[in-house]
């Protein structure tokens, strides 16, 4: 096992960086996009609610790999070439954003509706009520399930391996194809995923405690 680590260290390190990079971009992207669609889903306007609902239902219910292949294979046929890393990261962002939208929506809806009524009666606009009263309370409720989404995201970034995205899983497959040492390689890959996900999981727990 140490063999694998030492002999292929530079490949593994590069894979770790690609996985980390894709995950970070997708995390920020899906948080922003997911929040926007959550706001659409609870908007006072029916048309916006419908748009939000359709987005969430579509992308939550299509496999991540299918969304990714769409960007990797279909988009290049009509628009422009997209490399594996980019198409995987876009797929990951869109797919995760649908789950985050649901998480954020549930968090907002869990805030007592009297809070919004009081804020509106107090003269605040809908947006002011959202930003100053509803959102800060929803965030607290949302952190634990959001943590789960983030951890899933890091693990799901292994979709990059299917589209030559140079991530951890991709490097692992390469190593296996030359060394045939499947057991050790996949154990090492698993451990390296833990290096990413465990700190993330502890960080989310820390946030949860701090804001509780």
């Amino acid at each position: 096992m140490l063999n694998i680590l030492t002999q292929h260290w530079s490949d593994l390190w590069s894979g770790l960086l690609f996985t980390l990079g894709s995950s970070l971009v997708a995390l920020v992207g899906s948080l922003v996009i997911g929040t926007v669609f959550a706001l659409l889903e609870i908007s006072p306007y029916k048309a916006l609610r419908v748009i939000g609902k359709i987005y969430v239902e579509v992308f939550r219910n299509i496999p991540l790999l299918v969304i990714t292949m769409f960007f990797y294979v279909v988009i290049p046929m009509y628009i422009a070439k997209v490399n594996g890393f980019t198409s995987g990261t876009i797929g990951l962002t869109i797919y995760t954003s649908a789950f985050i939208a649901e998480t954020v929506r549930a968090g907002i809806e869990a805030v007592d509706e009297g809070q919004m009524e009081a804020a509106r009666s107090n003269g605040l606009s809908y947006l002011q009520a959202m930003t100053h009263i509803i959102f800060p309370q929803a965030i607290k409720i949302t952190i634990p399930p959001l943590g789960n989404q983030f951890i899933n995201l890091v693990k799901n970034s292994s979709v990059l391996a299917f589209v030559a995205g140079f991530d951890l899983m991709y490097q692992g497959n390469l190593i296996v194809s030359t060394t045939f040492n499947t057991t050790d390689t996949y154990i090492v890959i698993g451990l390296l995923y833990l290096v990413l996900t465990l700190p993330l999981s502890y960080f989310m727990r820390y946030l949860e405690k701090r804001w509780a």
Binding site: Q115, N122, G123, I133
Partner: protein, 244 residues
């Protein structure tokens, strides 16, 4: 000068007819108490006045503005008409002081210093200056409601609506809240109060309105309402809540 006018107002929740042909005028400076059995439409009347509900038909005029008119700025109406809720609805993520200063800062564009100064004066007035830095969860129900009243007053409203402000309180807390409301009334505030506190009504209200099944069955000045209610149902209701 009228502050609030209902003309032939109807309200439906889906198929349910919640307000039936409501005609009411409430003048500036008047204190009006609304009573009636559960489900009679009292909250719906209050919530219509500041636009938390929209009416289905008829005309509702608040502070000389027709609420159905597209040009009416509902945020402006709500700034002028405060509301106090049964369950207080203090902002859970804000301190007592911030609960009071948020509206003045965001909506009235008061400076932080000015809004805090006025908030402290209001807290003094409701007897809670020492709680300025507390969070709502640390307060008793009666304290919460007094903060909620201070929060409404900080917007310098033209009228205040109270929806059963003491119904969620322990008996020993009710007096403090009613005292604050009495003071607000003495300062000339226009008030519409849904309550079953008949002592308060007798002492402070100019008029009583009795609602049942979405209708206003009786609308009389306080003295005649208590001495000889015209409606049999009003009389029965009154004797029920007074003997409680």
């Amino acid at each position: 000068m009228s502050m609030i006018e209902f003309h032939d107002v109807e309200k439906y929740y889906g198929d349910f007819h919640a307000l039936k042909n409501i005609n009411l005028t409430i003048d500036k400076g008047e204190v009006v108490v609304i009573i009636g059995p559960s489900g009679s439409g009292k909250s719906t009347v209050l919530r219509s006045i500041n636009g938390l509900n929209t009416i289905s038909s008829g005309q509702l005029i608040v502070n000389n503005r027709d609420l159905a008119d597209k040009k009416t700025d509902m945020n402006k109406i709500r700034r002028d008409v405060g509301m106090v809720f049964q369950h207080f609805n203090l902002y859970a993520n804000k301190t007592v002081l911030e609960n009071i200063t948020l509206g003045p800062q965001l909506v009235l564009k008061q400076s932080k210093a000015q809004s805090q100064k006025e908030a402290m004066a209001l807290l003094e007035q409701v007897g809670l200056a020492d709680k300025a830095q507390s969070y709502p969860r640390m307060l008793s129900g009666g304290q919460k409601q007094r903060v909620a009243i201070a929060r409404s007053l900080a917007m310098k409203p033209q009228a205040l609506l109270f929806d059963e402000p003491t119904s969620a309180l322990d008996p020993e807390m009710i007096g403090d809240v009613l005292d604050v409301m009495k003071k607000v009334a003495e300062d000339g505030m226009t008030m519409v109060v849904v309550t079953h506190e008949m002592g308060f009504a007798r002492e402070v209200a100019n008029r009583l309105i009795f609602m049942a099944d979405g209708e206003v069955l009786e609308d009389s000045d306080t003295k005649s309402f208590f001495e000889h209610p015209k409606e049999e149902r009003a009389r029965q209701f009154l004797s029920k809540i007074i003997n409680h």
